[in-house]
Symmetry: C2
């Protein structure tokens, strides 16, 4: 924390997520200065109020910052550890916004200099569109904001990231990186795969018997909406959480097999139980 | 068609679907009179403009109508055939709005008096809420409206139902009852089962490791939204289209198994192909 009573924050990757967090932190007054890091000039991000200024040399910003926020895709964040962790200064804290946590936290903890803490972060907000031009300080408001402190992270470091996450409007959940990855495998990665598989299955059926997609109405649209997500966001997630995702697929397959058997047996009681369970899940959804 | 240039229409079951069609037909001026059939008085439906008047004796309305529209749940429509088809007069046409068609068309064709046509119908519109109080003449506008003529239906009868379906704003698709059932098994019934299974799987995971539903964000909500549908709507659908639905589940399972194997092998090319297929399906969606 600087003498002016705010953090010196470096945001590495000022897109939809990093940009929205920067805007929220500037509005909340928790930063003395926010510096963006980009390979190319970030004039648009400055103009939009996501950052105060930018540098193109990551080492310069990392050596300066109290808090560095890594906002690249997951595999890029992992790669950054070996080359750049060395530039962090004692007392600094690093966090990130990656959608999987175990591999990221492990990579960064392996390369941290003494006196630097890594506190993994995953703010669960987003949009179907990317880029700082779609960022808004309101996007993080009310989102679940998961913190997954590394084993070497100090309590003070965790508190600092908690303060920032709350300042952005996040509802804090602290858990281990593994717990996070197991939970989002079901809550986020599985729905993506299901939507992708269902869209593909419908296209297969459409190829074979025709007229299937023409009859797709609201139910199909809702259920497959996330299948429109671009692959580049998801490749890194799949590759860094494959074990948990495969477990999640197994749980779903059991659930689907049960339903299929119930249909085969015309077992109304079993179908009713499946609907009851689904309704209970929907009631338990937050918000 | 009466001498006044409009159909005498009987709507048996004036809820969300029947009520909306009634409102749309009155607005379009295609009915000389619309009579609702209900076990209880339908004053609310009259007040809302869904029907002109009502009767509580189905036989009376069926003997009077040019066109009878069956709007009960699927199994009820099937049961009505044996008891009530006899009251239809020569030249009359019967249609329905059930979500599956093969069993309905078969049951009614088996009981039709001479000179009466059955033209199955499935207007693909709806809401999460039931009841004539939620009906609107705008709901059918732009929906796919499937017609599945029975084998004994005359060309003139099909044309009459086509005129009504178009007057309500529907986009007409004519196909056999079996074709309809195979297509909606994938486009509508499978998404419902997937959403139900995914909700159940998430609740299972939540029971076991906790914190899963707390982290469910927009993707999970979209993908499972239809899991909130009440069972009573779906039981009849499942029981009258089980074979096609089970085939659809098999197609989805293959699609999901492929994805699971691709994750296991870290086969980026295969994952990319699955996303490409899903994106193609989304582009091919109507509207």
């Amino acid at each position: 924390m600087s003498s002016k009573g705010g953090f010196r924050i470096a945001i590495w990757g000022v897109g939809l997520i990093g940009g929205s967090l920067g805007m929220a932190w500037r509005r909340a007054g928790v930063a003395v200065e926010i510096v963006g890091i980009g390979r190319r000039p970030l004039d648009e991000a400055v103009r939009l109020g996501a950052i105060d200024r930018y540098v193109t040399d990551p080492a310069e910003a990392l050596a300066w910052a109290d808090v560095t926020v890594l906002c690249a895709p997951v595999l890029t964040i992992i790669e950054q550890a070996a080359s750049y962790a060395q530039y962090l200064r004692p007392g600094a804290v690093v966090t990130d916004v990656g959608s999987t946590k175990y591999e990221i936290v492990r990579a960064w903890e392996a390369h941290l200099p003494d006196g630097v803490s890594f506190v993994g972060g995953h703010p669960l907000f987003g949009r179907e569109v990317a880029g700082v031009e779609h960022a808004s300080p309101d996007l993080p408001k009310g989102c679940r904001y998961v913190l997954t402190p590394g084993e070497r992270a100090t309590a003070k470091a965790v508190d600092q990231i908690r303060v920032l996450a709350e300042a952005a409007g996040g509802l804090i959940r602290v858990m281990s990186p593994s717990e996070h990855d197991a939970r989002v495998a079901v809550a986020s990665h599985l729905p993506q795969l299901v939507a992708t598989a269902l869209s593909g299955a419908a296209l297969d059926a459409d190829d074979r018997i025709g007229g299937v997609l023409d009859l797709a109405a609201g139910g199909f649209r809702d259920t497959t909406r996330v299948a429109r997500s671009p692959l580049n966001l998801w490749n890194d997630i799949f590759l860094t959480n494959a074990v948990e995702i495969r477990s999640a697929i197994l749980i779903l397959r059991e659930s689907l097999d049960d339903l299929e058997r119930s249909l085969q047996r015309e077992d109304r009681a079993a179908i009713a139980r499946a609907f009851d369970r689904a309704h209970e899940a929907q009631r338990k959804l937050n918000g």
